[in-house]
Point group: C3
Chain length 239, copies 3
């Protein structure tokens, strides 16, 4: 696998392949490793063989980490099974959950426009799924009778207990490692801490529109607004 | 099952049956579902069949959620086994753990009287078990030789790692789902995140008075007082 | 076992043997137990038989708890197997993770010297492993081919998801209790909440220098500095 990373930032950066057991020089932590910092305007070829089993991982910046990660330099990375013609589930969703410290807004209000973020502030007040807050998040569309997989990954600061309404799910994998069927917990709320990934599976057997959201009351809206927002989406039956 | 909910609040509300797989219209999230908001002075009949197995759940408001939940509109909901003449444990305790942001108090002090709460503040400074703080919490009375179940449920904001002194417990269920005996962890501290429930069981085999409390040092007193308080109670042998 | 605790503090204290099922009078919570507070200049002999199996525990002050614990009065306590001639692992590391609220420092800066701590502040800004922050933490030295155990214990306030680069580990014990091999999760990130301990094992099979750190971006430096610091160390191959 070869990934060429171009750095268009005004400062050096790097990429850590979170959860992948890569050679040391490809791990992306220039502060302590021979793995390079990529200077502005330069690129680096991350080159490694995938030795981990199929599963859910992440990638994110690991240089000037607090600043770059809390500004959102992270994404999902899924290892698929090359020997599998089809997925064992009917639908497969991937959700990256993040939070941001937006500054310059009065408590309890949001406004149209572009926000400034202070990546070094602990006053986290915006909560996103795949970069968007409700009602701009994408609903997870399902049909009755399907088996659904949801992959959760948290590259941010806080623990987010993700709660699904109307169904219980089985926790089938964590950090890219399958959990033995005998040890899979059945739950409706799964706390996802910084650095963790979880794969959930549930049977779509209860039609309707069902919230899927961080259960922390203060994370269900942005900047403490009254309206539902933040880290909130829905499982929506289309059939 | 039919539950008539009268709304005596000055604003609309709803009830979410957290952990119960109810029909969509009974799920209590009017922002995204056909499930109604109950206007002030009105009522709604939540009517559904219990299809989940026996276990520990919650109910709480799910309209203007951050405000109503962080003002405390939540409670426990336990599905018992109709085919069981007696419980398989000798004593069965249910603890709802919550936190509140009390305003108008000087740091490090509490005073007699009624407090004002700001449900949209992140500065959570009061910590309760079943609505009370130590020393006003109820001790869990046990006799030597008994098997004790403790049901924990967290409808609030923060993760509370509940620690029991003098004993280890088995984690027998989570979110209302029994955990297979082979997969039950034996622990003395169980983190309970917002939206989660856990059932613990332990053998009362070590007489005395034993703290059962959130292990976060700042949660063992209210408003950062020196005296022990907050989310703290005891297991007390009476025999 | 007899441990004589001398109190050289200017105030009373006590010791709680966190995770050990000791007699009530030895449990160290004078607020609610017959277990004594040790006055300044005095001592107390904690005397008890170890009845717990081999495993990882803690000890910490449990009088004026928030103040004394958040000033750092805590340590690790490991029960070894008296019948075992040698450890089943090649190397066995113990890491106590803590955080502190240092006051009097400008946001984003640290300086040489001694710091003042406010143990009752929620503004936790210094993050340590065995009392030190990176780059002053001790690397975990390993040789290729060895089996490594890491014992994590958290006596503080916050949940710290500890992430290991370049390897996956098996979670073999929690709170001093071995986890059945069939139920052991394989992960790269383990959240450790206040009061919890975890034993991890991994095979040293990927040479290099590998970060082992709290994955919360704000905990990877002290006082929100740009440089990597805080709750961060490395697994370092010496062979």
């Amino acid at each position: 696998m070869n990934i060429r990373v171009y750095n268009c930032l005004p400062e050096s950066t790097s990429v850590h392949w979170h959860g992948l057991d890569v050679p040391n020089i490809m791990d992306g932590v220039p502060d302590v490793q021979a793995s390079p910092a990529i200077k502005p305007g330069c690129y680096f070829d991350y080159h490694f063989r995938i030795i981990n089993p199929p599963g859910t991982h992440m990638y994110h910046a690991h240089h000037n980490t607090a600043k770059q990660e809390m500004l959102g330099l992270a994404g999902g990375l899924i290892i698929l099974d090359p020997n599998s013609d089809c997925l064992p589930v009917d639908r497969d969703y991937s959700l990256i959950i993040q939070e941001f410290a937006v500054i310059g807004l009065e408590h309890g209000m949001v406004k149209l426009g572009t926000y400034n973020i202070n990546p070094l502030s602990d006053d986290l007040n915006f909560f996103t799924i795949n970069g968007r807050s409700f009602p701009y998040t994408s609903p997870l569309e399902v049909n009755r009778g399907e088996l659904i997989r949801v992959r959760l990954a948290n590259p941010g600061d806080q623990v987010h207990p993700i709660h699904l309404h109307g169904h219980h799910f089985s926790i089938v994998a964590s950090d890219g490692n399958s959990i033995h069927p005998c040890s899979r917990l059945r739950k409706n709320t799964i706390p996802v801490a910084s650095g963790e990934t979880f794969d959930l599976e549930f049977a779509a057997d209860n039609p309707g529109v069902w919230p899927l959201h961080c259960h922390i009351p203060h994370h269900m809206s942005n900047n403490h607004m009254k309206q539902t927002g933040g880290m909130f989406t829905t499982v929506m039956y289309i059939d």
